[in-house]
Symmetry: C2
Subunit: 397 residues, 2 copies
């Protein structure tokens, strides 16, 4: 597996492509609820349904994923994929929104009855992503309008008044700037301008605000990215920095901002990876504490699938932007770890949870926090980037 | 370490007693906030404070623990212990209750400002336990009255109307009978009648209701205890059964109910232990799924301190009730595992979290879910039971 990573581009592409096919087939075969619409999320190792709860984050992300595959990857531009995305979207539109506040429920029964709410904006964000991407695929104006109106509502909650979210303000709560909210908004802006580039102007002010919020989380001379920063910049533990890195790198490209590109690659991607990689057993730790305390999260030393999916995207995107060979070395490191630990060639999809030593601790493929999203998104983006890299190499040769 | 457990009673007692002293000293030395009152909970391996948040469950349990030690163990009947309990109770009484609904906040800042609420009854239950036990220690009638009034309020929420708890009822929610609520009420009844035996009559009807609710969780011919049972008895995964076992065994003793004693020992304690013990690496798994699925909880295969604390109590109590040697064998098994994995003889208290192989994964002694409670309660109760067993043995010899 070792050797010069620049000589392995074809090998990476072949494996990623086959894995994407297996993964998409896994969800197409096992997750569709043909009776009620929507998708079963909780699927065992071989795809059997072990729980019928429908989680809005994951229902929405699966719609988005199918629509994005349909829009961008030729072999997935099939009537079956489009129909599956549409059937998922219809289930959401019918069941997920509250009539009173316009918020979305967090979880539904298989028949679409509400089970849980959450006092954040994230269910709404993923709902918007789903409808926005699907409207690109089928040209349905109702989906586009619903995405636009949900975007306006989310921006109002974040920047004007969040009373509708139902979070009680208590006297001891200090204002806390989290990385998740501005990152999510950048992601939504990227989605909406992908749907319609003309919207860029409308969201330019919000984009500037998001970038300034995100920058506050770069601390200690650019060596550490923190998940939460209180206004007096007290440092708190966190992760997600590598994922944030490739969002920022995309934004930097769109805005042709080379300073932002440097921050994204050096501080968000490289420095976080250096801190988060387990030199002893390999793999990326889930949580670390900047001051060396034991994180209180029970899973801190586990190896979870999604940070590895995000790191694959981040390093390949950073390498594509700069040609710096050490970025491709890190891609290869994460690739080799993932393909020897997470990937299930037999049934498709990845296992989600390993202990520190890299042994699978949870055998399910889908669960309350894992659906048809991180794995296929990463594989799709890596396939696209690898194809471009190989093509460029042939052209320049 | 091996050998006949009946010959090891003195050894068990010596170790447990020394460990209780170390543990109580750990909290006395490191956790007191002399400036604002109350206790720091988040303490590192050596006792340093790494987070100042005050969690109501753990503040209350520490008051209860100090008061119980004062009331029941001669060497802890000191003015310093009583003063510490009183200072903790004063902090609670001043800061923890909402003026509007009478509910308790879940978490406070070090100065007592509210940080979080929770839409359950548990903060209120532990608050009641603290004041009730302390009123036994210092005879303060105000604490006794506050405990009585909170008990009435909790019973109203559980059996009449839970609107005050603020849980929204959604159309997809099915009524679900959890083991936690009736077990907690049995525990409260035990506490209140310890404070004042005359109250037994007042709570007799609730006690009957609790016992009938608890029995619903015994499934599959008594071989499995389930955490949640929906009215149509659908089975869902769970734990806590061993802890519930010794609560029930206490209740069985008080009511001289031998059928309940058999259920408590055979189904709750022995069968759960048999299912939960890790034959490969030792220790009790945190979660298991009755149908062999991977539990979705990330910590399912970890070894946590508190089920081991509860198992020590349960097996020693069951052995004391029956004299059955195999119950003492299981006590010895849990004892040996705990004293070679969890106990920190250097700084005092136990580590809380081990991976499946038994390696410490989180080095802190106190955290959002671990305070001055499970370890010292278990050690105190084991010390008391071991003393009685040794005395009985000498008498009968």
């Amino acid at each position: 597996m070792a050797g010069d990573p620049e000589g392995r581009l074809e090998e990476f592409l072949t494996k990623v492509r086959a894995d994407l096919d297996r993964t998409v087939n896994f969800w197409l075969q096992h997750s569709h609820d043909n009776e009620n619409g929507g998708f079963f999320i909780c699927l065992g190792e071989d795809g059997h349904v072990y729980d019928e709860t429908k989680y809005t984050w994951l229902e929405s992300r699966q719609v988005w994923m199918y629509a994005r595959l349909y829009n961008e990857v030729e072999r997935f531009r099939t009537p079956a994929i489009l129909a599956a995305a549409e059937k998922g979207a219809e289930f959401l539109v019918q069941h997920v929104k509250r009539v009173d506040t316009g918020k979305c429920y967090l979880a539904l029964t298989r028949h679409g009855l509400p089970l849980k709410t959450q006092r954040t904006i994230f269910s709404e964000c993923f709902y918007l992503m789903a409808l926005s991407e699907l409207s690109r695929a089928n040209g349905n104006v109702a989906y586009r309008d619903e995405a636009l109106s949900m975007m306006a509502r989310i921006l109002y909650w974040v920047r004007e008044d969040d009373t509708d979210l139902g979070r009680e303000k208590l006297a001891g709560n200090s204002p806390c700037s989290t990385l998740a909210v501005p990152m999510m908004l950048l992601c939504l802006i990227g989605q909406m301008t992908t749907m319609d580039p003309i919207l860029a102007g409308q969201y330019a002010d919000t984009e500037r605000w998001c970038l300034s919020e995100v920058t506050k989380h770069v601390q200690r001379n650019g060596s550490v990215i923190l998940e939460n920063v209180t206004p007096d910049a007290k440092e708190l533990p966190g992760c997600h920095a590598i994922e944030a890195g490739w969002f920022l790198l995309q934004t930097a490209k769109r805005k042709q901002d080379s300073a932002l590109q440097t921050t994204a690659i050096d501080s968000f991607i490289q420095a976080s990876f250096k801190r988060g990689w387990d030199e002893q057993y390999g793999g990326i730790f889930y949580f670390l504490d900047v001051d060396g305390e034991s994180p209180v999260q029970l899973e801190w030393d586990m190896k979870l699938w999604w940070p590895h999916c995000e790191a694959l995207i981040a390093f390949l995107m950073a390498y594509s932007s700069t040609g710096d060979a050490k970025l491709l070395d890190n891609f290869a490191k994460v690739f080799d770890y993932s393909y020897s630990h997470f990937v299930d060639e037999k049934h498709g999809e990845w296992f989600g949870y390993l202990n520190r030593r890299g042994e699978v601790t949870h055998r399910f493929k889908g669960g309350p926090w894992k659906g048809c999203f991180h794995v296929p998104r990463s594989l799709m983006m890596c396939e696209q980037m690898l194809q471009r890299l190989i093509k460029e190499k042939k052209t320049s040769a």
